[in-house]
Symmetry: C2
Amino acid sequence: MGTIERKEREKLEMRNVILKAATEMFLQDGFEKTSIRGIAEKIEYSVGTIYIYFKDKTELLNALMEQGFQKMMGVFKELKKNEDPVVRLKKLGYAYVNFGLKNKEYYDLMFIMKKPMEMSEDKKWVSGMNAFNFLSETVSACMQDNRLRFQDGNSANLAIWGFVHGLVALYTRKRLIMFDQKRIEKDIYDAVNNLTDAITK
Amino acid sequence: MGTIERKEREKLEMRNVILKAATEMFLQDGFEKTSIRGIAEKIEYSVGTIYIYFKDKTELLNALMEQGFQKMMGVFKELKKNEDPVVRLKKLGYAYVNFGLKNKEYYDLMFIMKKPMEMSEDKKWVSGMNAFNFLSETVSACMQDNRLRFQDGNSANLAIWGFVHGLVALYTRKRLIMFDQKRIEKDIYDAVNNLTDAITK
DNA sequence: TTCGTTTAATGAACTATGTTCACTATCTTT
DNA sequence: AAAGATAGTGAACATAGTTCATTAAACGAA
């Protein structure tokens, strides 16, 4: 009898109902302001129910993070078309920053927040690793063609990721207030272009 | 009679007692884990007392942030000795990252945490501005000598700050787990050197 | 010295949060 | 139909930040 299968399906459905509500609230108000009680109220179930499907708030957050990485990879995949690795690298930098600026809450979760990284550093980073590997391969291809002003690929990976992350992080955490706020987003994109120009040849 | 003066002195003393306890707890456990109740207990006063001297937890945090910026400027001042602006810039990048890695809690407060920036974006950034101006002047000097591979100073400021911040931020927020954890700190310093080499001439 | 006034200090109480768990109600299997 | 399994419940607990009526002490004027 397919009872077990149906139950499992229902369990998954319920999980998705919670996740969908959580995603909506999270994208609107951020993770901190998204309370378990709020989610419960939204889906018209009791608080306790949420804990049947998610161990704690962090597990909920992991699921959201996974969504974020999938979304990011969706953007990156498009870049594989570009055959010249330097072009690919430049567009990757741009796409990364663009993702960060257009998906602040996801970006926060994926790369800034403390919470999700406090535990199980493995499973949730499978998809995160995909994104990193994409950078890594592109950098590697650039190095092979001797088109990067770097000694080794490892250092280039770190430098480039650090760079694009830094721009997004400083901006979303409101530390760039000494720059002209009308032009700041354009300035950030310019900085990406200028720096990628400076380190490639 | 000097009663008023004495009272004011006592008030300042009490403020400092609170601040000292808060600093100790904060540097040991971070801001989130430092509770008002914890501070009160440590100085053997009641919770309410703390609210006489600090409007809320954010004001306490502002005071800590101020300390952090002062500490950072103490390091930066030493770099003024270097007359070659490119040397100064390179050492500045190194010093910035070094400050971040050696003072994680302060760095977190100053450049990563959401809390302090949610309100009064002015007063608390006077000292922060000093640090930024130091970078800005150094970059400006490099540009004047045509030693930077950048179109304009503004973009260079943004790029360089973004870069060093990104490295510290990714590391302290545990996002660099795909790198060899035994070498990662050295790799970060290497990345700083390699990138500053790449963008200067 | 005494007495009204000011104010530092108190800590119980309020709000909000994540989390747990004994209990109920419903569904499944025998 | 009875027994067993389990989804769902919501009161209760722990821990936060914050407020405020109340107390006690210090102060200054008479």
